[in-house]
Amino acid sequence: MEPLTWTGSFGTFLDPIFWVVAWVFIAAVALQIIGSWVLPPVAESINLDGTITRTMGPNLAIRMLVKASLLTLLALCVLYILAGMFTPLGTVGIIGAVAAQFAPVWIALVVTFLVSISYKRRLGLYGKLFDSTIGMIGFALLMFWFYTAVFVGLFDMIATHDPLTQLSGMKNKLPGTPLRSPEEGQFSYYLLGGDNLARDVFSRMVNGSVIVIVIAPFATLFAFMVGITLGLPAGYFGGKLDALLSFLANLVLAFPVILLFYLLVTPEIVATGIPNYMAMVLFVFPIIFVGVLLNSRFYTRPKLRTPLLSGVLLVMIWVYLSAISADGTVINVLPGVMDLFNINSGILVVFVSVVFVNSPTVFRIVRGLVLDIQTRDYVAAAQTRGEGPWYIMLWEILPNARGPLIVDFCLRIGYTTILLGTLGFFGLGLPPESPDWGTTINDGRKLLSIYPHPAIVPAFALLSLVLGLNLLADGLREESLRD
């Protein structure tokens, strides 16, 4: 079989158009930047009747050009994707085949956007996101990887091969290489090439997204739980508690992150069980948080409070115990029958260390916000009403601090993704054959100047996810500042 080219026969007539439009777009953007300095911002022309017409002059024309070329570019991209989805394999080459593999993701993305945009006025801050272009682009990138992870992780779709299977003769093969002897029902190409152990780069990349999408948001959420549970009282009560907690937070922050990772994530330390003990401590915080949250709200209504609180706490403690206890580690409290799930020890270590690194920063942010909000009138009003300190912290201060916290949450998921990549890059935590992006980049960098594709593909995947989160945070910040 012939190897696939990037855009196939379809590209022979569309590629030149694409490049022309792309260059026009780049030139127009450059012209716009120069134009905003050189050209006058307004052009005035005096009409015969003595009135003055004021237009934007040549700047307007340039702006139209930028917009038109960008839209054409997007339309061409959509065309490639659609053509790839609806024509047989090979007509649109590698790009078409990849687009066809991602078909469920495209459908889910389009549905999400159509539904969200049509109901955006009723959806609060989430709906406002669809008013800003930047926010929409960021959201699209994030959801792209989210849906990819869902379809790969739950339905086993998208990926063309098993991420760990090595096929003979595919070592370091270039993108689009056909399999040497494809079996019945096997996808007959390595779409984005093979890595140095003859595994499919494309399948590894999409499987890596599952690991990132599962760990990064959860780790960030836990870091927020820890940071909020400790930051609220530190800011609200101040005094010795604040001094102690701030000292501890600064202590962790003064550590170079990579040194901390090297100290916590090596197999020797894992054998001592320190990460398990840390997990034991860190995983308590969500229980405390939810318990105090519910109790402070409903303690005046014991009939509702007691069953609700005990039910929620029972479930959470059960999940907590099954999360921390696992066979063969230092902590094994639950009998096997009651143990709901076991977290892979490599993932647990990575998770714990990422939470540990992130929570002091969250703590500092929350503490600062509390110090600011504490002086507001509604806090004084609640104090006069005789509300307890925890009610004020959790139901008066926290909701009013949500704007900056949501924005920081998005940014921090991106940062956590970078940290996960760093761990993988140094070969810490996850097993060496794991398909996550950091490990794959580390694998591929040895032969980088000869065979760049095994490292470049996960690198761009990671870049696009983090970029998406940053753009989303930017859009959210703009929209939340507007009200």
Partner: protein, 351 residues
């Protein structure tokens, strides 16, 4: 306070590196890999590794006499023993307070010697990073912030978001693949056009940069580190510039008829640079992170490379020295940023 932080941190590092599995690994790499349990224990016992951790920590600090043991055959083993120094000259105390940073078990050399040269290498790298990063970040930030919402602002902001979203190991990999390869990317293309002599534009490793820094071997490491920090500083500068440009006194100046160039250069710039100064100072600890990644990626034997090497081999005293240095850097930059903030901001200075 700083001293307390430094003590706590080094103690944590000390505690973690002195866990038994780590010591076992140390013994096996020092002795041989097929040592039995008992052999490992006696190896560690002889060298004083099995004393309680606080005692060992005191010895490392130099407030307690270093461990020493004389074997039956008359050889002296101990913390203060160095090859080439006779037992009579071996001092009783050898810790940080005596100016002795210990002995690297991997390099077989005193830590101070190794770390000194590594720090010099990293110093060169950091110097060039600062030279590239700070001016470009400030220029980008000021240009974007002086006309908020304009086309320039939007394009430059997008660029800075992109650069903050690109961690060093991603941008480094992309740079090497695009600019330092003899088979792909820009190098062969420029070579065909006759613009450059070699097939690759830059070098993918910085190994030769230890002997002499050239444009070819140092551009990519410097660029990789600068890029990640640049976006963040540029965004801070942009935000502070945009805020200053809406201030009352700028409007007054504009109404007086001062030209836009003069407003930016004489009125706005100084006030807009106060906030980025703190940010630049607080970036140092982050740069340390970038340095570790970039030095590993480009195999440049500096401080970061040494950190990875020491941590990978559980070179306890080297790791401690590394953490002392990095904690020192973090705390000093915090101090400088506080002092500089007061100095730059007249409102705080006067009150």
């Amino acid at each position: 306070m700083m001293l307390l932080t430094a003590l706590c941190l080094t103690y944590i590092v000390f505690f973690l590196t002195n866990m038994y599995p780590n010591l076992e690994k140390l013994a096996k790499t020092q002795g041989n890999f097929r040592m039995s349990e008992e052999a490992v224990a006696s190896f560690l016992e002889d060298r004083g590794y099995l004393q309680p951790t606080p005692v060992k920590y005191m010895q490392w600090l130099g407030v307690m006499p270093g461990f020493s043991l004389e074997k039956e055959d008359g050889t002296l083993l101990g913390k203060c023993v160095r090859p080439g120094i006779s037992p009579e000259d071996t001092p009783r105390f050898c810790g940080i307070l005596q100016g002795d940073w210990g002995f690297s078990t991997v390099a077989k050399e005193p830590v101070a010697n190794v770390l000194g040269s590594r720090l010099a290498n990293t110093g060169k790298l950091m110097f060039w990073v600062m030279v590239v990063m700070v001016p470009s970040a400030l220029i980008v930030g000021v240009l974007a912030g002086m006309r908020e919402g304009s086309g320039t602002d939007r394009s430059l902001s997008t660029v800075s978001i992109l650069s903050t979203a690109t961690p060093e190991y991603v941008s480094g990999v992309i740079f090497i693949a695009m600019l330092a390869s003899t088979r792909n990317g820009l190098g062969p293309w420029l070579h065909e056009m006759g613009l450059i002599e070699g097939k690759a534009l830059f070098k993918g490793t910085a190994k030769s940069a230890m002997d002499g820094i050239t444009f070819q071997n140092f551009t990519l490491p410097v660029l990789t580190i600068s890029l990640y920090g640049m976006g963040y500083i540029a965004r801070m500068t942009r935000a502070s510039m945009a805020e200053v440009m809406t201030a009352q006194y700028i409007r007054t100046a504009r109404l007086k008829g001062v030209s836009f160039r003069n407003i930016v250069m004489k009125h706005a710039l100084r006030n807009a640079l106060i906030a980025p100064f703190t940010v630049i100072m607080l970036q140092f600890p982050w740069l340390l992170n970038g340095v570790v990644i970039v030095e590993t990626l480009f195999s440049y034997t500096g401080f970061g490379w040494q950190l990875v090497n020491a941590a990978g081999n559980n070179d306890i005293e080297m790791l401690l020295a590394v953490s002392v240095v990095s904690v020192f850097v973090v705390l000093v930059t915090q101090l400088i940023s506080d002092i500089g903030y007061v100095y730059l901001n007249p409102r705080i200075r006067i009150s």
